[in-house]
């Protein structure tokens, strides 16, 4: 009896099986990258800590109540006006900056603000204080934080464009790609130091 050749296995349905698996992984896969507003919490103050006295004019007060309404420097304000007001406040430059290592940073020579005597003296002295109610919606809180950060980004971009002809965002991206580049690092630090982000979250008011 002649040996019969083994019949070939039909591979026609292999594609179907593969498709099934493919669809399963397509559905379960999540491509999102984790991103978020980064914040640095302040360290816990020691028990006998006396908070430094800060002049009223150097504080930009933002209050959000539990109905998600905003009060900026004692006046109601809409969210879309917040960035502009913040830029005005930070960029005012009405006096001498703070003393770092015994050397005064002097007046703000890169500020383009009104140099009003009733607003902040220097970007490195300008403090933004956000006070929210315990009942405030988290979404609103993030929106406010976002607007404040936008103001800083705008100022930093402006300064970087003037000094190095590239925006601050671009500088940061370049630095990320080439993190050993000392020159880029210096540039990023320079702009960062000129407009430091000082946003403080005051303890929220209680609902009760």
């Amino acid at each position: 009896m002649a040996r019969r050749e083994t019949p070939e296995i039909n591979a026609g349905s292999m594609a179907d099986i593969a498709f099934l698996l493919l669809i399963f992984f397509l559905v379960t896969t999540t491509m999102d990258v984790d991103s978020g507003i980064s914040k640095k919490l302040s360290e816990k103050p020691p028990k006998d800590y006396v908070p430094p006295v800060i002049k009223e004019k150097n504080i930009f007060e933002v209050n959000i109540n539990r109905n998600n309404e905003m009060l900026v420097e004692g006046e109601t304000m809409k969210l879309e006006d917040l960035k502009e007001a913040t830029v005005k406040f930070i960029d005012n430059g009405g006096g001498e900056g703070k003393v770092v290592d015994g050397v005064s940073t002097g007046p703000c020579d890169y500020c383009k603000g009104a140099r009003s005597l009733t607003s902040s003296v220097h970007p490195n002295m300008a403090i933004i204080s956000v006070q929210s109610d315990r009942g405030t919606e988290y979404g609103m809180y993030i929106k406010v934080q976002n607007e404040l950060l936008k103001a800083y980004t705008e100022l930093r971009n402006r300064l970087a464009l003037e000094k190095y002809n590239v925006s601050y965002n671009q500088l940061q991206d370049d630095f990320k790609k080439d993190s050993k580049n000392e020159e880029l690092k210096k540039k990023v630090e320079f702009v960062k130091m000129r407009y430091p982000q000082i946003i403080s979250d005051a303890e929220p008011t209680s609902v009760n």
Partner: protein, 155 residues
């Protein structure tokens, strides 16, 4: 007019022999990129807020995530719930959670550890503040408020 009376040849079938190869290639791609969620959510999947000024979270292995939102299980009641690992917890448990996360990493990595809070837009700031105070007490100062990147936020 035999020229016009030409018999039409049947269309040759498209060769599908390489189809499985293509599909397998796609399959492997998705198999490799897929990330299965390690913890199943006890709270409703939070709707993250939108923001423009977001930073990417780097070093995923150094990130510990805290979820805030409404509980899926209606028996737990309404209001914001905090989920640590795969349990609903109270703000007081945050300290232990962070210490536990720390113990899983080497000492040198501790300063780079970030806490990511994934909170629903509708949760209240009070809950977030409770967590923040606990994080401050335990010295986990790097924080990321998880939000989706948008080019322009609708007011």
């Amino acid at each position: 007019m035999s020229k016009f009376g030409k018999k039409k040849k049947p269309m040759p079938a498209v060769n599908t022999a390489s189809l499985p190869d293509i599909v397998f290639m796609l399959l492997f791609f998705f198999m490799v990129t897929t990330v299965m969620r390690e913890t199943d959510l006890k709270i409703e999947n939070p709707t993250l807020p939108n923001a423009t000024e977001v930073k990417k979270l780097e070093h995923k292995s150094l990130v510990s995530t805290i979820y805030v939102g409404k509980a899926k299980d209606k028996k737990l009641g309404a209001g914001d719930k905090i989920q640590l690992n795969d349990k609903i917890a109270s703000p007081d448990d945050v300290t232990a959670f962070i210490l536990n996360e720390r113990s899983q990493r080497s000492e040198a990595e501790h300063p780079y550890m970030t806490t990511s809070i994934k909170a629903d837009v509708e949760s209240s700031v009070g809950t977030i503040t409770d967590i923040k105070l606990k994080l401050r007490d335990v010295g986990a100062l790097k924080l990321s408020l998880s939000s989706r990147k948008m080019t322009e936020v609708k007011q």
